[in-house]
């Protein structure tokens, strides 16, 4: 998979954590002791890798660690959708949307359509049902933007400051 790379030079992140995050972007080993193998590459022992990873996840610096499934390959669907939420009602609507297990992520955006989220499920029917449920529970019109074509997916935001192949794709 190709990807873009950006560097973030002024980030206040522990340099060891930054190297670990950059290493863990992709290609996590499918070996018996993968954390030990990653540690060996970085000059860290297995327990240190695990401990730092636990901390990064519990602090929210990392939101997830594991396989990223592209469920479309197995009949599933991801659909971007948006709501125009009255400001006074924003917290209530955010709670309703976030509670749905089918909602993979949800962002507030500065626009009249101010809530943008992605619904993911293992079939198109489930996605449609979730979108309908959101419309019913919030009382708002759900604007769905299913992807018609994917041109590119895959950004690597660098945590470390060292430049290793800027923009390699």
């Amino acid at each position: 998979m190709s990807r873009a790379e950006l560097s973030a030079g002024d980030v206040q992140l522990d340099p060891v954590d930054a190297r670990l995050i950059d290493r863990l972007h992709d290609n996590f080993p499918l070996t018996e002791r993968p954390f030990a193998d990653v540690g060996r590459e970085l000059g860290l022992d297995e327990e240190t890798v695990l401990e730092r990873l636990r901390t990064l996840l519990s602090q929210g610096t990392l939101t997830r660690f594991g396989p990223m499934f592209q469920i479309e390959r197995a009949g599933g669907e991801f659909v971007l959708a948006a709501l125009e939420v009255p400001e006074a009602d924003f917290a209530r609507v955010a709670q309703i949307v976030n509670e749905m297990p089918e909602v993979a992520h949800n962002y507030r955006r500065a626009h009249r359509m101010n809530m943008w989220f992605v619904v993911a499920a293992s079939s198109s029917e489930e996605v449609q049902a979730a979108l309908r449920a959101i419309g019913e529970r919030t009382g708002l019109q759900v604007h769905a933007f299913p992807k018609e074509r994917e041109y590119f997916v895959g950004l690597r935001l660098r945590a470390g400051s060292e430049d290793t192949g800027h923009g390699t794709r």
Binding site: M1, A4, L6, A8, D10, I21, L24, H25, L30, E32, P34, F35, A36, L50, L53, R54, Q59, G60, T61, L62, T63, R64, F65, G66, P67, M68, F69, Q70, I71, R73, A74, G76, F78, L80, V97, N98, E102, A104, H105, N106, Y107, R108, R109, A110, H111, R112, M115, W116, A120, A121, H143, F145, E148, E150, F152, V153, L155, L157, A159, H166
Partner: protein
């Protein structure tokens, strides 16, 4: 490709993350009643087939200093959008690039490109590069900055 029962259970067991233990694949195997070796082999096949994009970490962009995240949207001439979409997607700094349906009259945009920066001016510079690339094929555009992450759990398939 169709998922079999084991695949579904494997996805359900790992979609929220790998166990943070020395032998994570063994741990997943123990949940599913198979060896770690079987888990590793199937994950390797899923990577090969594209059912898994990658195995790794998802950072919170904000925590890495990328606080300016702009969804740039463009109304691009239908006959040119696919050729131009490929070019826009190839720009460094564009993380996702898709064609999506317009929702007229309020939403004339059919090309979406996510752009990230440490400051909004970086996002605007990248949007300017996209604008130049689109040229006369582009009739209107906007940038929707994210102002809060409300949820970011990733895929969570319900019990199969």
């Amino acid at each position: 490709m169709a998922l079999d029962e084991f695949d579904r259970r494997l996805i359900a067991a790992t979609q929220s993350g790998l166990p943070l233990v020395a032998r994570p694949y063994e741990a997943v195997g123990a949940m599913l009643g198979v060896s770690g070796q079987i888990v590793r082999e199937r994950l390797a096949q899923m990577l090969e087939q594209g059912l898994i994009r990658r195995i790794g970490a998802v950072p919170n962009h904000y925590r890495l200093g990328y606080v300016a995240n702009g969804m740039t949207v463009w109304d691009v001439e239908d006959s040119q959008v696919d050729a131009l979409g490929d070019q826009v997607g190839a720009l460094p700094g564009v993380s996702h690039c898709y064609r999506r349906p317009r929702r007229l009259p309020h939403w004339p945009y059919n090309l979406f490109a996510m752009v990230h920066g440490r400051e909004r001016c970086e996002v605007e510079r990248q949007a300017q590069a996209i604008r130049q690339m689109l040229g006369d094929a582009c009739r209107a555009s906007d940038i929707l900055y994210s102002t809060a992450i409300l949820k970011k759990t990733g895929l969570r398939l319900k019990e199969f």
